[in-house]
């Protein structure tokens, strides 16, 4: 029995409310990425490979500092480099650490048909359980951030685990550990939101970045990875971060009403033909010419 369940909520003979009643102990973990202090060193990319046991593989040069165009099944953490022209005509490089966002309402999980292949822990981490994955790729259609990737050898899907194995042991994720500028933070969702808002306020008030803000999209119920952006009104500039990510309505319909409409339609079909048989029975051929037919 965890200690949280032994928390005292009522107390006898006590003046005033029970001490400590109403304290929230369930902690949502969160990663904060401050894009304004990222220098694009890719230490987090290396740390991710190191901790998760993947080796660096061949990449394609694409006239960019970016390691590869997209994350892959064995490369979960990718800094996206985007040249961005400011209003005064000067050019800046926007760098954003791209990985699974660990949505509170995960589209991958909604789309998945395999029992237990995708789980969400109480701390908010969305994790793939490859031993239950059937490799159908439905999560690819469900994800509004284009994150789950297919390993064509093992036929399983992979993505960032938010280092659930480290977090479960009270450690911070590997990427956080490696960041040299401190642009990556890890803690509870509430703490990270406070920190992010404070940083955004600082950017607005002291650095003249009036549009600075925090990216924690409500369309997916908030995310376990939040960003501080120089310009929160234009997240697309940061390597295609969607402005208002949602679980695609097609996926919602498919996994919701369509299921019941389809199941009832199939059931009614079977019932319908059964009723027809009970009412009208089989079609017999009338052996008109010769009387030797099997007609009773």
């Amino acid at each position: 029995m965890s200690q949280a369940s032994l928390q005292i909520v009522k107390i006898s003979g006590h003046a005033g409310p029970a001490p400590g009643a109403g304290v929230e102990r369930a902690e949502q973990v969160c990663k904060l990425v401050d894009t304004t202090t990222c220098i694009g060193c890719k230490a987090c990319e290396v740390a991710c490979l190191e901790w998760n046991g993947y080796t660096f593989s061949e990449t394609v040069f694409d006239n960019s500092y970016q390691t590869m165009p997209e994350t892959t099944w064995n490369y979960w953490n990718l800094i996206k480099f985007n040249e961005h022209e400011r209003e005064d005509g000067s050019v800046t490089l926007l760098m954003r650490k791209d990985q699974c966002m660990h949505c509170a309402e995960p589209g991958c999980l909604a789309a998945c048909p395999a029992d237990g292949a995708i789980v969400q822990y109480a701390n908010g981490i969305v994790d793939f359980q490859q031993e239950h994955c059937i490799g159908c790729g439905y999560c690819v259609s469900g994800c509004p951030f284009n994150i789950p990737k297919f390993n064509s050898t093992t036929k399983k899907m992979f993505k960032c685990t938010l280092c659930s194995d480290r977090v479960g042991e009270g450690l911070e994720p590997a990427c956080i550990k490696s960041c040299p500028t401190g642009c990556l933070h890890f803690g509870t969702k509430d703490d990270m939101k406070d920190l992010a808002e404070a940083r955004a306020r600082q950017l607005r008030e002291n650095y003249g970045l009036e549009k600075a803000g925090v990216y924690d999209p409500a369309g997916v119920g908030g995310t376990g990875v939040i960003y501080v952006l120089h310009d929160v009104s234009n997240p697309e500039a940061y390597g295609g971060l969607p402005k208002d990510p949602q679980i695609p309505w097609v996926v919602r319909f498919w996994k919701g009403p369509a299921k019941w409409i389809g199941n009832f339609a199939m059931l009614f079909g079977v019932i319908g033909v059964t009723l027809h048989y009970l009412r009208y029975g089989p079609k017999q051929v009338h052996e008109r010419k010769n009387g030797r037919g099997g007609q009773p």
Partner: protein, 226 residues
């Protein structure tokens, strides 16, 4: 129509009655390739469709195995259906007789077959089922590729991913509707139909009752050949 002819087979002569070849051996083999691959795709597909039917995966070797084979069986099914299109396309064309039959269809449903106008090799319902299956298969094939190679669809064209899901589900449900009726009619309702797709033959009485124009056509051809 050289695929159909009047024959006198040994077991038919036992009943002292002429029997007619309705489906050639290759037509029968092809029908059962389509039928069995469809059933495989149906079982595995339903398991992917709803968690309440995931237990069906146990029949086909587990989820990953089912997921691996589903598209390949689908391709065999598609090839089989395309072959059906090649050989039956002519027979499946809607005729004026079919339109008259369609008007009288309530009689058919109530088993009042004597009130139906004569028709050729296939009736209006069979043709409807054939075209539903044919176009359904094309949609299942195209959307199936979208689901099979979902990662090859670029992010900028992701609406194709969503379209694939929708079309695959809709086409599958439509063909399942046809499949339920087809299996019911072929086994329970129209007696003699199931035998014809197994052994290929129907009795003359069956041919006269259900497909009189076709019967007259093949018997005429047969006597001309003699």
């Amino acid at each position: 129509m050289n695929t159909s002819q009047v024959i006198s087979s040994s077991h038919a002569s036992d009943a002292g009655e002429e029997r007619i070849l309705r489906y050639t051996l290759s037509e029968r083999i092809n029908h059962w390739i389509a039928g069995l691959t469809y059933v495989y795709c149906l079982i595995t597909g339903l398991a992917f469709w709803s968690p309440y039917m995931s237990w069906l995966n146990e029949l086909t070797g587990g989820g990953p195995t089912a997921r691996f084979w589903h598209p390949w069986y689908g391709l065999i099914f598609t090839a089989s259906v395309f072959w059906m299109y090649k050989i039956w396309r002519g027979d499946m064309r809607m005729t004026n007789e079919d339109l008259a039959w369609k008007k009288a269809m309530p009689h058919y449903i109530r088993n009042e077959d004597e009130n139906l106008p004569p028709i050729w090799r296939f009736n209006y319902g069979q043709k409807l089922f054939f075209w539903l299956t044919f176009y359904g298969t094309i949609l299942l094939l195209l959307s199936g590729f979208g689901l099979w190679f979902v990662e090859s669809i670029p992010w900028s064209l992701r609406w194709l991913r969503y379209l694939s899901v929708t079309v695959h589900v809709a086409a599958a449900l439509a063909t399942i509707g046809g499949f339920i009726i087809h299996v019911y009619m072929g086994t329970a309702m129209v007696r003699g139909g199931f035998t014809s797709i197994i052994r290929g033959e129907v009795s003359t009485a069956w041919a006269k009752t259900h497909h009189r124009l076709w019967y007259e056509q093949v018997t005429k051809q047969n006597s001309a050949r003699k």
